[in-house]
């Protein structure tokens, strides 16, 4: 199961757990309340790791595979957390031939995560993206919407250190 490989250890607080359990207790007898419960859980935790899915399963009595099925069906739900700073490296053609794959590799090396994952401290999450339309600045990456262009591998640690 994909969530087994989750790169971030689960760090739910007792307050979060209490909030979720209270919400489930309030909603669970309503017909069709599973979706709103899962939405609430994502609102509380920001994502749906296996621990949270298990909690929902325990409280509602719904088998975990059904909850996993729903969590993976809808685009809104995510099993991986997003970091405080979301990095996306352009792997469009123009950036790729200018070596954005090397930039990506360097970031992976520094942060120790793969695209789609988040660092254990929740600070950075990493994604690759298609062309951002800044081919003149290739290779390009974005951190929380801010564009860094004409990147070299040497610049990567300097930029990441700013955050």
């Amino acid at each position: 199961m994909a969530c087994k490989t989750c790169s971030v250890p689960f760090k739910g607080t007792p307050e979060q757990e209490k909030e979720l359990k209270a919400a489930i207790a309030l909603m669970k007898d309503e017909p069709g309340s599973l979706m709103p419960i899962i939405q609430k859980a994502q609102e509380i935790y920001g994502y749906l790791p296996i621990e949270v899915q298990t909690m929902i399963s325990d409280e509602t009595g719904v088998p975990i595979e059904r909850i996993y099925g729903i969590s993976t069906f809808y685009a809104q739900f995510t099993l991986e957390p997003k970091g405080q700073y979301q990095i996306s490296v352009c792997l469009g053609t123009a950036c790729y031939v200018k070596g954005s794959n090397l930039v990506l590799e360097k970031i992976e090396e520094i942060l120790g995560i793969k695209p789609g994952q988040c660092t254990p401290d929740g600070k950075f999450s990493l994604d690759s993206c298609r062309c951002v339309g800044a081919c003149g600045l290739a290779p390009v990456m974005m951190i929380n919407g801010e564009v860094y262009g004409r990147l070299t591998v040497d610049q990567v640690p300097v930029i990441l250190a700013k955050y």
Binding site: P36, A75, G92, G136, A138
Partner: protein, 603 residues
């Protein structure tokens, strides 16, 4: 009483262009001038002309200010509200005349429109139930509960000729009639607010601008079919609509217009909200119902139809937001009034979301049967930049294209169906000569491939194979054999898919193949994209007459594809090295953006 009202649009379009700041600025400036007892500021729903946002309308004279920024507000307050002088430079260009301004209703964009579903959008404050009641709101529900039997209600809807506005165009009254006789301990009224077609936003505007109309209509539907519970399924991506629906439901409950014993008649009806979670297929009726039940939103085979076995296995009806928005008006003004608009088989009005290569993008509501030319040329203001009109895409990923030769076609269900197109939910994307039809078909297919739920093979695998062939065509690697295969696949997917998503997914391909086959052939045989869109089929070239050999492009080239031409010619007496682009080119266009002399062109 206020002597003047300032209406600031709070729809999604205008909010994105900063209308909330404008509203704050008005409140501040009006207070600063001591006018707060004379002038009221109202945040409304969408006016339709999203292109011109943020939109501000000052009543009683209905002056239409367009693209208002916070810094303009002080001038409007000091000049218009204090001294009664209209700030002409900020008035919507088309409403300006030589001797003053015309009213909004007289501008091209509005004069051809008839607003039924959108009648309150941009006029009332959607967060205040009293304003809705003030325009005749909940009167229809009162009339239905106290003067009419459920069968009479259904008959009125049947007589009005109202058909589903979500896309399929099934007669609404018939849907209700089929559900009414089915006995069960519980029945459900559902509202489809899972508007997912790219480029369509009419339901969002109704929910944002006039949420009570939908609640009232659902209660009427509940009375007609014998249900006491409604569900509105709305996209989570529409936060403003969700918020306003929550407020509206709360207010309606407080006023006793939802809940137990409505109007003291013993009729009970309540409504709950369910948020979607980002799945296009949930716009399909059975998938929407399985999603409300809290499962993966996959469609199921019909029959049994929802009227017999729908939500939670009980008899249910599902109507679209815009369909509901028409119903209170039909009850109040009568079936004849509604049936007097439109064509023989398509009655009433329809809201379209006009977008793409058109001057006035926004929402327009027109009587069914209005010629396409009126929509494009009069209401939409034509194609910008003097380009030539090529086609209109309607119905999003389930629809097709209306080519230029059919520009005089009256827009209604039958006429569009006759040329392989659909009214659909009402997205209308206008395309000009610069749009490649193969690329458009590919765009919609990418969408359906992403959104196919995967339950049935025809849709899951069929659409993917179709996309592969289309990609081959736009890459210039296809043969005429592929085109035959593509057509076969289209028919296969259409005939064998479980739900409407798959059954209609080939439409964008079939329709472009029907009217623009020459473009497909140009891609396959000549390896050319006539519109100059498909990257793989274009080449970048350097015009030796303009190139001065500065090499700025070569420095910016990511692929080092630009080199000095060994055979450079003599120019103005001097031998200048001009450049050429080689096979390494990745067609990113960076060189064209860099060149200060306009020497680089694509062909």
């Amino acid at each position: 009483m206020y002597r003047s009202h300032v209406l600031v649009c709070g729809g999604t379009g205008c909010t994105s262009s900063g209308s909330l700041k404008v509203k704050e600025a008005f409140e501040k400036a009006i207070k600063a001038e001591g006018l707060e007892k004379e002038v009221a500021v109202v945040e409304t729903g969408c006016h339709g002309l999203c292109q011109m946002g943020p939109v501000v309308i000052v009543y009683p004279d209905a002056t239409f200010y367009a693209r208002v920024e916070a810094k303009d507000v002080e001038e409007i307050v000091k000049e218009h509200l204090l001294k009664g002088r209209i700030v002409k430079r900020l008035v919507y260009e088309e409403a300006q005349t030589e001797d003053g301004v015309k009213t909004l209703a007289d501008t091209n964009f509005y004069s051809k429109q008839v607003r039924v579903a959108l009648r309150n959008c941009g006029v009332i404050n959607p967060e205040d139930i009293d304003e809705y009641i003030g325009t005749g709101g909940y009167e229809a529900l009162g009339k239905v509960l106290t003067e009419m039997t459920p069968d009479e209600v259904i008959q009125v809807i049947l007589d009005s000729g109202l058909r589903g506005r979500g896309g399929a165009g099934f007669p609404t009254g018939l849907k209700w009639k089929l559900c009414r006789p089915n006995q069960a301990d519980k029945k459900y009224v559902c509202c489809n607010g899972d508007e997912g077609d790219p480029g369509a936003f009419m339901d969002r505007s109704v929910l944002e601008g006039d949420p009570h109309a939908v609640l009232e209509a659902m209660a009427i539907a509940g009375y007609a079919i014998g249900s006491d519970q409604g569900y509105i399924y709305v996209r989570a991506e529409y936060p403003i609509a969700v918020e306003r629906l929550k407020i509206a439901i709360k207010q309606a409950r407080e006023y006793g217009l939802l809940g137990k014993n409505i109007f003291g008649t013993g009729f009970n009806f309540d409504i709950d909200l369910r948020l979607g979670a980002g799945a296009f297929v949930c716009g399909e009726e059975t998938a929407l119902m399985t999603s409300i039940e809290g499962k993966r939103g996959e469609p199921r085979p019909r029959p049994p139809f929802p009227a017999v076995k729908g939500l939670f296995g009980k008899p249910s009806i599902l109507n679209n937001v815009e369909t509901y928005a028409n119903i209170p008006q039909i009850i109040l003004k009568g079936a004849e009034w509604f049936a007097s608009m439109g064509t023989e088989k398509s009655k009433g009005t329809k809201v379209f979301a006009l977008g793409g290569k058109i001057k006035n993008t926004g929402l327009v509501e027109i009587p069914m049967g209005t010629p396409l030319r009126t929509i494009i040329e009069n209401i939409g203001g034509g194609i910008p930049n003097g380009k030539k009109f090529k086609a209109v895409q309607t119905g999003g990923p389930s629809g097709g294209c209306i080519p230029a030769q059919y520009i005089d076609i009256p827009v209604d269900y039958e006429n569009l169906a006759s040329i392989g197109c659909i009214v659909g939910s009402g997205g209308m994307i206008v395309m000009d000569e610069d749009n490649c039809m193969v690329d458009i078909a590919k765009f919609f297919l990418e969408f359906t491939v992403d959104e196919s739920c995967g339950k049935c093979t025809a849709c899951r695998i069929g659409t993917r194979r179709m996309l592969e062939i289309l990609t081959k065509i736009t890459d210039g690697k296809a043969t005429m054999d592929d085109l035959t295969k593509l057509e076969e696949l289209c028919l296969y997917v259409k005939n064998n898919s479980l739900c409407a998503l798959g059954q209609t997914a080939p439409n964008p391909v079939l329709s472009t193949l029907k009217f623009f086959k020459d473009e497909y052939i140009a891609h396959i045989v000549d390896k050319k994209c006539p519109a100059g869109v498909c990257k793989a089929l274009m080449t970048y070239n350097i015009d030796p007459a303009k190139c001065i050999g500065c090499k700025a492009c070569a420095k910016g080239c990511p692929a080092n594809a630009i080199k000095v031409n060994a055979n450079s010619e003599v120019k103005e007496g001097k031998k200048l090295p001009y450049l050429v682009i080689g096979d390494e080119c990745v067609k990113c266009g960076a060189c064209q953006a860099t060149c200060k002399f306009g020497a680089i062109y694509k062909k």
